[in-house]
């Protein structure tokens, strides 16, 4: 069993550095990994795609990091890739690992972690709908989750033009005025009184 699987003392606000500990063990097992300490209780670790499933299954099986708190994606359209972020929490250590991995934006396919955490089914369904990333083997892929009868490109991709779609689909009430707040306030209170 893993040594850091100990009860953290809730009365002690400064726990021992479990983050460095788990990072050292991860690197000893899986090679060099980029990391960044975001907060006291949040450690970001970048893992390439081949090592993602071994890292996650080792974390869940042999360490206190048993809970998948969140799974989401970021569209880095300039670099032509998606970033997948798995937040894995150790409730006993009060520490969360942000396991980040990059996948190709054109193929947009990633490995499912449904076999590790059953609740990943819902996250993967939502990412599939909102970003168009496919998780083969995950149930409910392609089943509508929030958007019903959606017939356009996935709306969370950054090349989706929200305003254009909205103007095309949802009519606007005639007479609505779009007022630039800066112009309006400047006109009302005088240019000098605003941001001067």
């Amino acid at each position: 069993m893993f040594e850091i699987n100990e009860k953290s003392n809730p009365a002690d606000p400064t726990p021992s550095d479990h983050g460095q500990d788990i990072l050292a063990r991860l690197q000893a097992r899986f090679g060099t990994l980029e990391s960044h300490r975001q907060k006291q209780d949040l450690l970001r670790i970048e893992v390439d795609r081949d090592r993602l499933l071994p890292v996650l299954s080792w974390l869940k099986g042999d360490t206190p990091f048993v809970q998948l708190t969140h799974l989401t994606a970021v569209d880095w359209i300039e670099e032509d890739r998606f970033e997948l972020i798995y937040l894995v929490t150790a409730p006993t250590l009060n520490l969360t690992l942000m396991i980040a991995t990059y996948i190709d934006r054109q193929t947009a396919t990633a490995e499912s972690v449904f076999n590790l955490w059953l609740q990943a089914e819902t996250y993967e369904q939502e990412i599939n709908e909102m970003f168009g990333i496919d998780f083969p083997g995950s149930p409910r892929q392609g089943v509508p989750f929030i958007l019903e009868g959606w017939d356009d490109m996935p709306p969370m991709r950054r090349d989706f033009d929200t305003v254009e779609y909205c103007e095309r689909t949802h009519p606007e009430r005639p007479g609505r005025e779009h007022t630039d707040p800066r112009t309006y306030v400047g006109k009302k209170f005088g240019e000098k009184g605003y941001l001067s």
Partner: protein, 227 residues
């Protein structure tokens, strides 16, 4: 005019069609006087009562209706949070004869409380059509009027009265419970005067509403009318 056939209540063509779909002013809720609004409930052989008697009965009926408003428990957006203080002791809407109702079949006021996503719109239409006539819609907040802060959202409708008839709009983001009470008082005045006939307008122009609804609800699987 074809008469209402009680054997075929789903046949909307037998309802009175005094006015056609007024596509000319689609954005303004058209509210008409209640002349003969109860005729659609006449049986096959029944004759409408004398106009004076009809008017007297309608006045009494409207007075009763205005003083027993049952609000459907359906919170669509953030405005639903303003209904809690309205129900409870601080603003106490039961002073005005307004109370809550758990199901569409037991209610006659639908409060659209804030932004409405297209997914919710489908459920709203289903619930609205299940409510017994007469029924009224109170739209809350700027999101229902012109989109509000969701003016560029891909999944939120902007003009509510394209999809269902609205009797009272209450502006604000969010409207305070006092504004809601003022809106309800306005609604009660309208009902007593026989002017709050959005439900009647909905039945008369159902095709026009259906067309608008199907433009945003892409996977349309509702029946012709949810009786």
């Amino acid at each position: 005019m074809k008469r209402f056939d009680p054997d075929k209540p789903w046949d909307l063509t037998t309802l009175p069609t005094t006015a056609g779909p007024d596509g000319s002013v689609p954005h303004a809720p058209v509210v008409k006087k209640a002349d003969g609004q109860d005729q659609c409930f006449l049986g096959a052989g029944e004759v409408p009562a004398a106009p004076k008697l009809q008017e007297a009965v309608a006045t009494i009926k409207n007075w009763f209706r205005a003083n027993s408003l049952n609000v459907l428990a359906f919170g669509t957006g953030c405005g639903a949070i303003e209904l809690r203080p309205l129900m409870t002791s601080r603003f106490d809407m039961s002073r005005f004869g307004i109370t809550g109702a758990p199901t569409p079949r037991m209610s006659n006021v639908f409060i659209i409380s804030g932004y409405l996503s297209t997914k919710t719109l489908k459920r709203v239409i289903r619930s609205y059509e299940q409510m017994p006539n007469p029924k009224w819609v109170v739209a809350l907040g700027s999101c229902t009027i012109n989109g509000g802060m969701y003016w560029d959202s891909y999944n939120t409708i902007k003009v509510l009265d394209l999809y269902m008839p609205v009797d009272v709009y209450i502006s604000g983001c969010m409207p305070r419970p006092e504004a809601l009470i003022a809106g309800f008082q306005y609604l009660m005045t309208e009902i007593k005067a026989g002017d709050a006939n959005g439900w009647h307008h909905y039945l008369e122009n159902l095709d026009w509403y259906r067309e608008n609804q199907k433009q945003v609800i892409k996977d349309w699987d509702l029946p012709d009318y949810s009786w």
